[in-house]
């Protein structure tokens, strides 16, 4: 079985390469579907395969950049990427992350950084999960009430804070065509600034926070939120790849192997969004956030092996479900096309 192992020239370890392809594939699926980098999933996976932790983080970041590029290319073809919105947000995000980093340094001086960060993370994840599920429950309730009253279910009765925020008309106003919104350019920048603070504070890429922020605060449709967030992940990931390479903590061979799997996974994940309703994506996203939450809590109580099992199981289950959505939708579409072609020929 020696051929199943690949020598990593820099870290000097032998790694089961099908494992790398599988991790790349699964996280490509999940990242393309939800619009996040998925560092919380990849790093423990690489660590289990045998990478030292520092190499796992650097390799993950470089892979995240390549994978997000593939996903962004596909999302852009569906019209899911609002580049203008993405650039406005990058500026806010970067300043926010710096403030978050300064907060961390302050806590470090106080000697309380570890527990504070982990528990803020837990509370934040719990809030995001609650927000997603509450929003869904509210929308379902509103639809039921509308149907009972003789109206039509619109699926629009959930949380919607964006219109109130759009009323703040501080110039310059900007139209974000793909997202279909016009608002003060300060809105995405400020929202990104605050999500950036949280990302910097927690030491994460931020897709987990930015995607719901794009939906609930900026008012972007779920699909555009996913695509635009991936565009941001791509840019920050490329820089992350550079800095981690400078620190010497990157294994390029592993990045390429993972990217081959991610290239296929990302197509499945992105194309699956074509067949999934916005709420479907959000609910599944909420489930992913819950899995992340459970793994962080388990790690906090030193159940590291159990945390890894939770992460890997959730990656497997969620990516299988995304594959099901994609394959089912694609089969239906091709079948309908063929049926349409046959009917046209008969006429």
């Amino acid at each position: 079985m020696e051929w199943m192992y690949m020598h990593m020239p820099i870290s000097g370890v032998d790694i089961l390469w099908p494992g790398l392809v599988l991790i790349g594939f699964s996280v490509g699926c999940i990242g393309g579907f939800f619009g996040m980098g998925g560092a919380w999933m990849v790093t423990p996976g690489l660590n289990i395969l045998g990478f030292p932790m520092a190499f796992a983080i650097g390799t993950d970041i470089a892979h995240m950049a390549g994978k997000s590029m593939i996903s962004t290319m596909r999302h852009a073809k569906f019209g899911n990427v609002d580049y203008k919105l993405g650039i406005a947000m990058i500026i806010g995000t970067m300043f926010g992350i710096e403030v978050g980093a300064q907060l961390i340094m302050y806590l470090e001086r106080m000697g309380t950084v570890g527990p504070v960060v982990r528990w803020v993370y837990v509370v934040l994840l719990a809030l995001i999960a609650w927000l997603v599920f509450y929003d869904y429950a509210k929308a379902v309730k509103a639809d039921k009430a509308a149907v009972a009253g003789g109206g039509k279910a619109t699926g629009q009765g959930g949380i919607n804070w964006a219109p109130a925020l759009h009323k703040i008309k501080i110039p310059p106003m900007m139209e974000f065509k793909q997202a279909g919104i016009t608002c003060s350019v300060w809105l995405p920048m400020i929202v990104a600034f605050f999500t950036g603070i949280l990302a910097g504070f927690l030491g994460i890429g931020g897709g987990l926070i930015r995607m719901p922020a794009l939906v609930y605060l900026i008012g972007a449709p779920t699909h555009v939120a996913v695509g635009t967030d991936l565009f941001e992940v791509m840019i920050s990931g490329l820089y992350g790849a550079f800095t981690y390479s400078l620190k010497g903590r990157i294994e390029m061979v592993a990045v390429f192997v993972m990217l081959t799997g991610a290239a296929i996974g990302a197509q499945i994940g992105v194309v699956a969004t074509k067949y999934a309703k916005g709420y479907g994506i959000r609910i599944l996203f909420g489930c992913a956030v819950l899995c992340c939450l459970v793994s962080v809590v388990l790690k906090e109580f030193k159940f590291n092996d159990l945390a890894a099992v939770v992460v890997l199981t959730s990656i497997g289950v969620i990516s299988l479900y995304i594959i099901k959505i994609m394959v089912g939708g694609a089969i239906n579409e091709v079948r309908e096309k063929k049926a349409g072609g046959t009917q046209a020929a008969a006429h």
Binding site: P9, I10, A101, S236, Y239, T243, Y244, V255, V271, K274
Partner: protein, 98 residues
């Protein structure tokens, strides 16, 4: 014209420089231990890049970014070529919400 390039250049500079601040925060700092790649058993590209890693980490970092970008772009184009042949409409989605 100057104004146009001023804004373009400014935006590019911001996009290039600001992530350094960002990633200063992220991922938990790598330790200061210096890792040296053992190149004695390596050959070809592996040998070249491992030597580069040992000798000039900055050039290695530039290569890492360039190769990641190139790999992402090539795989994206190849997958696009393959996906077009599946018969799925990849230019629009039927579910449009707002």
């Amino acid at each position: 014209m100057f104004r146009h390039w001023f804004w373009r250049g400014g935006l590019l500079a911001v996009l290039t420089l600001l992530p350094s601040l960002a990633w200063a925060a992220g991922g938990g700092g790598a330790s200061d231990i210096v890792v040296v790649a053992d190149t004695r058993q390596l050959a070809g590209a592996n040998f070249y890049f491992s030597e580069l890693y040992n000798d000039n980490i900055t050039v290695f970092a530039v290569w890492a970014v360039v190769l990641t970008t190139a790999c992402g772009a090539v795989l994206g184009v190849v997958m696009d070529f393959i996906m077009k042949r599946t018969g799925i409409d990849l230019t629009k989605r039927s579910i449009v919400e707002h």
